[in-house]
């Protein structure tokens, strides 16, 4: 199956590298440099996903997005932006974006977001995740280890959910940080390590088997070690 992606980014170098790397991932990619071109490309072809930079000349990303949605087009849209404040995020999501990625981002994260966008509605995740005897309820934000309920803060919950969704996959600090602090990313230091340490204390201390593991030099992984 051929997946077509349209990228709109006015920064030439970024446009180029995103295009070439997405092509390397076997996506079929078209790229353009401003909002008007997006509309022209959209008129000529069907796309499975759109990656839109917000700040572009001629017609900016938000305006393009609004126009597309007005025409009743439901193509999934990922916004790229250098702005990361709450208002910017709200404006983007209000305009009909499906997701939002703040610069600078790791290419891995962009790929992950695109994969989520391309996922068909039928594949929406269930409301409950379970690994060994650790269970989290996505609707109520409840966490159980065995029969014991564990209290987690908002960020701890998102972190655990993300790790459980990627069970068995090693997640780098960068990836974890980008996922948890996408919108108001404060960057750097070892805040994420403190979170993981606290999460371990809460869900692994005194329980067997241990679920969160450190992979030296690579990151963290949640899995049952057999």
């Amino acid at each position: 199956m051929h997946v077509r992606i349209l990228i709109a980014e006015d920064e030439k170098d970024l446009n180029q590298i995103l295009t070439s790397r997405l092509k390397a991932e076997h996506y079929s990619v078209d790229s353009c440099k401003n909002g008007r071109e997006v509309l022209e490309y959209m008129a000529g072809a069907e796309y499975d996903a759109l990656v839109l930079d917000i700040m572009m000349p001629v017609l900016d990303g938000l305006s393009v997005l609004k126009k597309i949605r007005q025409r009743g087009c439901t193509v999934p849209v990922l916004l790229l932006t250098a702005k990361d404040s709450i208002e910017d995020r709200v404006a983007g999501l209000d305009a009909g974006a499906n997701d939002y990625l703040v610069k600078p981002f790791a290419f891995e994260e962009l790929l992950a977001r695109i994969r989520v966008l391309l996922r068909k509605p039928a594949e929406t995740p269930s409301s409950c995740l379970q690994t060994a005897d650790l269970k989290i309820l996505l609707d109520t934000h409840q966490v159980f280890r065995g029969d014991t309920e564990i209290r987690l803060s908002g960020k701890e919950f998102s972190l655990l959910r993300y790790m459980m969704q990627n069970e068995g996959i090693v997640l780098s600090r960068d990836k974890l940080e980008q996922h948890i602090w996408n919108y108001d990313y404060t960057g750097g230091s070892n805040v994420i390590d403190v979170y993981i340490r606290y999460l371990r204390r809460k869900i692994d201390d005194g329980y067997e088997p241990k679920l969160i593991h450190t992979v030296r030099g690579a990151g963290y992984v949640l899995k049952v070690v057999s």
Partner: protein, 452 residues
């Protein structure tokens, strides 16, 4: 005197001079003794009698008296008598029943039923008629009492005048100075609320104070403008830098994905990637601080167990501290709860401890404590490192401020303590620093404890 308000000072000045004036007036009044008043009464009497001689004329067999004769000028009653003492014309004061003998040119003092009179007679020869007496009578009691009334009046009116001047002076000064109060209030409000959009706005007026207020407003306009421009600049620059950094990181990423890359090139690219990440971090921090300046940074407040969280941060930072053989010891009271943003709290503590490690000595110590204190949670991070000099201490919260100006340090952006200060204050707390050069530094923060 310096502590009094201008209002009070001006009023006191008014009152002081008014009192001085009153005292002088009263002193003059009192120094006029009774004697002088009486002497003056006698003189008036003599003068009136002498002058009245011209008013009396004999014409065609009858007296012709000028109307002045009946005027009671200076309280003197004049009357005309024949040589034998019969009253011809004139007025006798009511209650004067005495009939003293005439004595030409002599002043007589007479008493009658508790009242005192001066009587002065002059003999006057009128051609065509003969000798007549003109008698002047003046009431001593009346003169004295009118003086006493004047005195009493002065005693009441003058102090009243002082009080009135003081009150009017106070009200007037207050009214005049009200705009000054408004200027002060505005400036204070700007200081407490950090709201530079406030203005004095006195309205239309031309006096000096209105001009002052106007100048203030203009100055505030310029400050606000400059301030906004600076904030906007920081925000713009940071945003502009993000796109190129994304390109650098993406290129590094792509280059590192190439498996044929040799070891040396790989290292070089990894270094570029690391530095680009550092830059990205500084930009994120700058953006955070600029959002904080504009009051747009939001906190996700949650009820957190600060005891556990503090312990976690210390354990995590111990790993970094070990690289410098620094040991971190803790004394943390259990079950301390506060409403806080978890990420920012961790961030703050990480910054404090990594600072302590960075400025610590090899093999040194860091002591972290956390305990309950009068409705607050008091936390402190103490080190026995190089310390901060007295001159540098007040500046440590400033952005990019460094005691050593070399800026050779890697991984230390110089924004860490600015962020710490903002985080503590955004949580409604305070932070203080104590330090001795060469001995070490202690940073202590107070955060409001959560009430159950």
């Amino acid at each position: 005197m310096k502590r009094l308000s201008l209002k009070l000072k001006v009023t006191l000045l008014y009152s002081f001079f008014m009192t001085l004036l009153t005292c002088a007036a009263l002193a003059i009044l009192f120094s006029l003794s009774n004697q002088e008043i009486l002497a003056s009464t006698q003189n008036t009497l003599k003068k009136q009698v002498q002058e009245s001689m011209e008013d009396v004329e004999w014409e065609d067999g009858s007296f012709d008296l000028d109307s002045d004769f009946y005027d009671l000028d200076g309280g003197v009653y004049l009357s005309l008598y024949t040589e034998t003492g019969e009253l011809l014309y004139g007025r006798i004061p009511y209650g004067f029943d005495l009939k003293p003998d005439f004595s030409d040119g002599q002043l007589q003092t007479l008493s009658d039923s508790g009242r005192q009179w001066y009587v002065f007679d002059l003999a006057h020869r009128i051609s065509g008629y003969g000798l007549v007496y003109i008698r002047g009578i003046s009431s001593v009691t009346e003169a004295e009492s009118s003086f006493r009334i004047t005195l009493r009046f002065a005693m009441i009116v003058l102090p009243l005048l002082v009080v009135l001047t003081a009150v009017i002076g106070y009200l007037f000064t207050r009214r005049t100075l009200r705009p000054v109060r408004r200027i002060t209030d505005t400036v204070q409000e700007i200081q407490t609320n950090q709201d530079l959009s406030r203005r004095v706005e006195l309205g239309n007026g031309t006096d000096e104070i209105y001009q002052l207020a106007d100048t203030f407003d203009q100055l505030l306009d310029r400050i606000e403008h400059a301030f906004r421009r600076e904030q906007q600049f920081t925000s713009d620059v940071s945003h502009e830098l993000r796109t190129p950094i994304t390109v650098i990181l993406a290129q590094c990423d792509a280059a590192l994905a190439d498996e044929t890359l040799n070891g040396e090139h790989r290292q070089q690219i990894e270094l570029i990637e690391k530095k680009a990440r550092n830059m990205a971090q500084i930009i994120s921090q700058l953006l955070l601080l600029s959002r904080a300046d504009q009051g747009r940074q939001q906190l996700q407040m949650e009820s957190l167990n600060l005891s556990e969280l503090t312990e976690m941060v210390c354990e995590e930072q111990s790993i970094l501290a070990e690289e410098k053989q620094i040991t971190i010891s803790t004394q943390i009271e259990p079950e301390l709860y506060a409403s806080a943003d978890e990420t920012f709290y961790i961030r703050m503590l990480v910054n404090l401890i990594s600072n302590a490690i960075y400025y610590g000595r090899e093999g040194g110590h860091i002591f972290v404590s956390c305990f309950r204190q009068n409705g607050f949670i008091a936390g402190s991070v103490e080190d026995d490192g190089i310390g901060i000099s007295k001159e540098d201490l007040p500046h440590i919260w400033e952005r990019f401020y460094r005691a050593d100006t070399s800026r050779s340090a890697s991984g230390h952006s110089g924004l860490g303590l600015s962020m710490v200060k903002w985080i503590v204050e955004a949580h409604g707390g305070t932070i203080t620093a104590e330090s001795t050069l060469g001995k070490g530094t202690a940073l202590t923060f107070l955060l409001p404890e959560e009430k159950n």
